[in-house]
Structure formats: structure tokens, C-alpha cells
Subunit: 405 residues, 2 copies
């Protein structure tokens, strides 16, 4: 029998009524003849409620105890969903991350999955149970509870799909698929039926909230197909899988993503010498802060200016760390801006179609949108601009590249 | 170094502010030079909030999944308390029941502790941590989460005290000790400084809410001293320990307890034959319902009437079960009453002072209080009467036996 892994996020299971609807979807998959493993997040609002409690204790709280706290969010959901399935006459069992054999490293709050011991899940599947696993969490080899960081439930679902050799990993959410851009911003945004893992990875990394980048990366690495579906509507959603030859003639640009959760830091007037980047970014990495875009250039005085972006939540810590480094590096100035937005155009077609970047810059210039950083990859062009330009920039690009067609 | 175990109930840790007060009490014990292990319940209201969620799914919910759900209540508290201690500059670590090595049987919702593997707690104590353990919960040998049933945190604290050979188990609550009766009912009620485990066991079993009977039983069995203290006031509280010779001349009656959480069931007109009691009570026991008082007598027709009490929560299930049995037993009638109260007078002095029972009955008769059941032990007399008589009965007995002196 083949195995389907389904994942339901917080908004899909925010109330007992919604949990009942989700249970019906699960039962329908079970009745189709597949073994079903379900990964769930905390009920919407619950993780924030717990974080708010923690912040009353310590506004900068982190570490082991925070994971003990927030991991209860998913534990509540697995129990309620399991009860609901049992009430509806099905065999179901809930497993916490630890119980499900999800082993992680011990970077609390941002742990990464090392391995999954699938024996417990398999035991219960063989006994005809629907198995409900708490997403977003795991256990270190010493038995400490860890969490994968926010949104990590997608990663849990993909990792479990890999560990069980599942035929598909279905991510249920409140939208019916992946769109060319955020429909709330651009009414012309269109649903995409198929997208490559590579493109999806870029879109996710660049701010499309539908799938977590780590989950997409994981799926790409182990070649698991992810299908994005709506919990509340019918439809085939968007299938994310490896690039195949049928898709040669697909659109040049798949979508436009944006990310308002970043902040930009600049250190000016540092000596332009080898190793300077690691002297600047090393201390930032030590705080477990992910640096995203990095730009370095040299001014007329022979001194370098160095700009990078970090998650907006980490802005304060990053600024403190950078100010500290600036003294050692004898830099002239440190400046920060947390009212920026990153806008990215993504598409595998860029590889074979030159001139996309220059067209993008021209469209933005024509609309008086100033660019403060640029970064490109093989299938992506990202720019940073002031947050205030977001809606206008996305719409003019969406039109210029005919994504609504 | 000696070990102190402290237990704080839900009302002591109902808010972040109260958790901070509790942390200060813990720190004061730590600064006195003892190793400190703290057992906590869920924040007040939290267990009921979780149960209400479960009841929305299934009004009769029970079993494994319910324990997965409600065990999150204590997990939230251990994390918050541990964070608070860390924020105040102390080393602290939280452990769920599973992590603390609390092994139970697999009677979900009402599990009993089989053993405690103290190695994890000891490891962290040796590393100078204050160890915070989730009360009320444990784990089966298969790794399933269990709960000990409501109020089981006291039992957790005593069991951990035994496992660690602690010098004292301090139960912090919202009253400053054990009283001769409930002060809300009798303004003349007095705090008791010392009480024997035996008396406390009877008082707890009979409805004094200060300590859980299972915890007292456990403490008596393993000779652990329990001290009942107020979280919010100073004072020495009440020490519960083994009877010793100094206490020979103590009061005849220690206290009057009452229990409104019971219901009375009667099966009338059953054949008076050997084994009838087990035929009646066997099916009740199979539902894991604790039967408390049992009275059997034979009527003029040679048929027996059999009356017993059960927890009021179990009344419905018990009635159903009894009605089923009554058909098999060809009984005449089954009646139930869940508006009763049990009132008990407790004192080791009863052993050497005859006539306490007859005085009790006379006092109640003089006050027109009708008795429907009587049960006596070496150090206790219990009667059942209608709930409406509660306040009057307790007060006239408290006066008649001069407990306010």
C-alpha cells in the first residue's frame, strides 16, 4: 500500500469545526486506499499566545525552555485531531515529534532534522491507524525537545515523506495553489499548475509564504513531489517537482515574490582587504542569524562599503553585533534600515532568455522606483527597495512580463 | 547536600506575576543550601480549557489522546517557571514527566506511578540546576504519555521525594496549612500544626482538598514528611508525618472533612447470597470507577439492599452499569442520588476514647440532620446526608467536639 503524507497549517485547524473538516479530508484519502500520515501545526494564534507568555518572562527569551513551551502548541492539535478521527470511527494515534522518531541537532528554536526513525510510525500504519504527527518539532539525541523554527511543519512533512518513501506530500493551506504573485497585491495574479522545485525554492526563499524554503529544498534534494492544495476548496492545486522535458516551453518568468521580513545593514568605510567579509559576517553568523543578500563595493577613497540583509526580527541583534565589529574594523559608519522590501522575479526560462534583468531595471526606473541592492542567480533576480514601493513595483513588473496572460 | 522537593499548584502559578513570586520562593530555598526539585501543575484554568476543547470533539472523551492533550498544561508551566529562574540568574531546567523518568502503568487518564528513574533529575542537580518537573504526568514503558488523574501533581511530588530520598516534600497551596475543617464553612476552624499521616489520609480521602489522598498514602508508605505551606503567606504550615510518642496527648478529633464530589447508588432486592457484592461492584471496577462507602443490609423479605458511593463525575456511567447488572441479578430497583455529601470526623484519639460515634449521631439527631449511610474505621466516622445539610452539620459537630478551642 502506498503512503500519502498530508500537512495542515494553523489556519486550516484553527477551530474544532475546522479540525472536523480536516478530519473528513483525511478520511477521504484513507478511503481511497492509501495509508495516511498527517502532520499538523499549532492552531492559529496558539504559537503567538505561547510566545507572548514567554515574552512576559523575558523579552529576549530563547533556548531550550522556549522549545519546551511552544512545542505544546502542536501537541494540542495532534490530540484534538486524533480524537476527532476516533470519534468519526477511524483508528488514529497522535505522536509528538519525539515519539515519531524525529531526531534533530540541538540548535534550539531553529533545529534541523538529522534523521527520522520511522519504526514507530510504520508500526502504527501497519496496524491500520491514521498517524498524526506534531510538525515543527523533534528531539535531540539526549531527549531534549527542539523546534525547527517557525513554519517548520512543512519541513517535518517533507522529511517524513522521505523517511516513509511516500508517493506525495500534500501541503494543505488557505490558498488553492502557488500564484504568479500575491493576489492580494495584484488582482491579475494567476495560479500555477506545475512549477519546478528549483523555481519554487527561489519563490519561497524570496518571500512567497505558501511553502517554507527549507521544505522545498528538502523535497528537491530527495526528489519528493509536493502538492499545494486548499483545505477549504476543491482543485488540483500546484504540483512542485523536478524539472522535466515537457516543461521546456514554459514561461520565462514563473512568478514574482516579495519579502517584507528583511532589514538592511550597511557598514561604510572598511579597509578593502581579503577576509573582510568574514570578519563582518562571522559575528552575525555566531548569533545564528541568516544573512540573505550581500553586496560589497569600493568607494573613491579605496575603502569598502558592505551591505547585507537579515530577517527583520534579528535586526536589533545584528545592528548591535555590527556596531561592535565596526570598532574593531575601524569602519566609518554603520547604518540600518528595517523598512525595506525585497522583490524577486523567478523563472527557469531566464537561463535561455538574456536581457530579463535589464528589462526589469528599466520597468522600475520608468516608474520612479529606486533600487538600493541587486542580486542575481541563474533563475532569479532580486532587488531591494523602500517598503513603500512594494505594491507599485510588483504590479508594474507583473504587467510588463505578462504574468496575467 | 540534601534535597528539598517543592510542589506548586495551579492557583500558585496562575499568572506570570505569580510564577515570579514562586521563583523567588524557590531561589530562597536554593540559597539556603539545599538542592531543589520543583513539581508544578498546569496554570489555573488551563486544564479545564483543554478539557473543554476535548469535549467539543467528544463529550465522553477519554483514553490515550486525552492525556496527550492535557499533559501540555504542565509542560507550559515548567517552561515558563524555568525561564523565570534563568532570567533571575539561576541555572534551571524543565523536564516533562517522560523526561524525568516517571514510569506509570497504562491506565490512561488515571495512571499510577510504577517507578521513577531518578538518573536524569540527579544528573541536572549535580550540575547545580534547579530542576522543574511537570506534575500529574508520566510515560508508559512503550513511550505513551499518561496522566495521573486530576490532582495527581501532589502524588508526583511525593513519589519524586521518595525517589530522591528528599528531606522534605513541601506542598505549596493557597491555604497556610491543614485546618480542623473548611474555614469557609466554619469560621471557628483552626490550623493544625502537626498531624499524623494516618489522620491526614483519612481527612484527604474524606474531602479535605489540601492534599490528595494518593499522595498522603504514598508519603505514609515510604515515610516521607509532607509540609503544607502557603505560597502567598509566611508560616510553618502543617507538618504531616508518622505518629510519634510526643503526640500521645493530642486531641481526640483532629478534624472534620466533607466531600461533595460523591454520588450514592442503591440496588434493592437482590438475592442475599455469597459473592453478590463482587457481582455488583465488579462491573463498576471494570470502568475504573473508585467505589468509596459500601453498605449492605437485608430486608424483611430476605433480599439484600446494597448502597455505595462513587465520584460524582462517574455517576452516569456507574448508574448505567448498575442498571445493566440489575437485570442479570433480578434486582427489584436501582436508585441514585447525586445531591449528597459525606461528612467525616477523623482522629487517632478515637482509638482510646469510646463513644465518639454515638455522640456524633446524637448531635446530628438533635439538629434534625438525617443520616443515610454510616461507615467507620479505627480513626474515622463518616456519614452521608443530603447536601443541603452540609454547613449546619459541620458547624454543630465542630462546636460539639470543641475543635475551635
Amino acid at each position: 500500500m502506498s503512503i500519502i503524507v498530508q500537512k495542515y497549517g494553523g489556519t486550516s485547524i484553527g477551530t474544532i469545526e475546522k479540525i472536523s473538516l480536516v478530519a473528513d479530508k483525511i478520511i477521504s484519502a484513507k478511503n481511497d486506499g492509501d495509508d495516511v500520515v498527517v502532520v499538523v501545526s499549532a492552531m492559529s494564534g496558539e504559537t503567538n499566545r505561547l510566545l507572548d507568555l514567554a515574552k512576559l518572562v523575558d523579552s529576549d527569551v530563547s533556548g531550550r525552555e522556549l522549545d519546551v513551551l511552544v512545542s505544546t502548541g502542536e501537541q494540542v492539535t495532534i490530540a484534538l485531531l486524533s480524537m476527532t478521527l476516533i470519534k468519526k470511527g477511524f483508528k488514529a494515534i497522535s505522536l509528538t515529534g519525539s515519539q515519531a522518531g524525529i531526531l534533530t541537532d540541538s540548535v534550539f528554536n531553529k533545529a534541523r532534522i538529522d534523521s527520522i526513525n520511522n519504526s514507530t510510525i510504520k508500526k502504527y500504519l501497519n496496524d491500520d491507524n491514521i498517524v498524526i504527527v506534531a510538525g515543527f518539532q523533534g528531539m535531540t539525541k539526549d531527549g531534549d525537545i527542539t523546534t525547527l523554527g517557525r513554519g517548520g511543519s512543512d519541513t517535518s512533512a517533507v522529511a517524513i515523506s522521505v523517511a516513509l518513501d511516500a508517493k506525495e506530500c500534500q501541503i494543505f493551506t488557505d490558498v488553492d495553489g502557488v500564484y504568479t504573485t500575491d493576489p492580494r497585491l495584484s488582482p491579475g495574479a494567476k495560479k500555477i499548475d506545475n512549477i519546478t522545485t528549483e523555481e519554487m525554492l527561489e519563490l519561497s526563499s524570496q518571500g512567497s509564504k505558501v511553502l517554507q524554503p527549507r521544505a522545498v529544498e528538502f523535497a528537491g534534494k530527495y526528489d519528493v513531489g509536493i502538492r499545494v492544495l486548499s483545505t477549504f476548496d476543491e482543485g488540483n492545486g500546484t504540483l512542485v517537482n523536478k524539472e522535466n522535458d515537457d516543461q521546456m516551453e514554459k514561461a520565462i518568468i514563473s512568478g514574482i515574490a516579495f519579502n517584507k521580513d528583511e532589514a538592511q545593514l550597511t557598514i561604510r568605510g572598511v579597509p578593502d582587504q581579503p577576509g573582510i567579509a568574514s570578519l563582518i559576517l562571522g559575528p552575525i553568523a555566531k548569533h545564528n542569524i541568516d544573512v540573505d543578500m550581500i553586496v560589497q563595493n569600493v568607494g573613491e577613497d579605496g575603502l569598502a562599503n558592505f551591505t547585507f540583509t537579515v530577517p527583520r526580527n534579528d535586526f536589533k541583534i545584528a545592528m548591535k553585533s555590527l556596531e561592535k565589529s565596526s570598532i574593531q574594523l575601524k569602519a566609518k559608519k554603520v547604518v540600518g534600515n528595517n523598512k525595506i522590501v525585497k522583490i524577486s522575479m523567478v523563472g527557469v526560462g531566464m537561463r535561455t532568455h538574456p536581457g530579463i534583468a535589464s528589462k526589469m531595471f528599466a520597468v522600475l526606473a520608468d516608474n520612479n522606483i529606486n533600487i538600493s541592492m541587486i542580486s542575481t542567480s541563474e533563475i532569479k533576480i532580486s532587488i531591494v527597495t523602500d517598503e513603500i514601493n512594494l505594491k507599485n513595483a510588483v504590479n508594474v513588473l507583473h504587467n510588463a512580463f505578462e504574468l496575467d496572460k
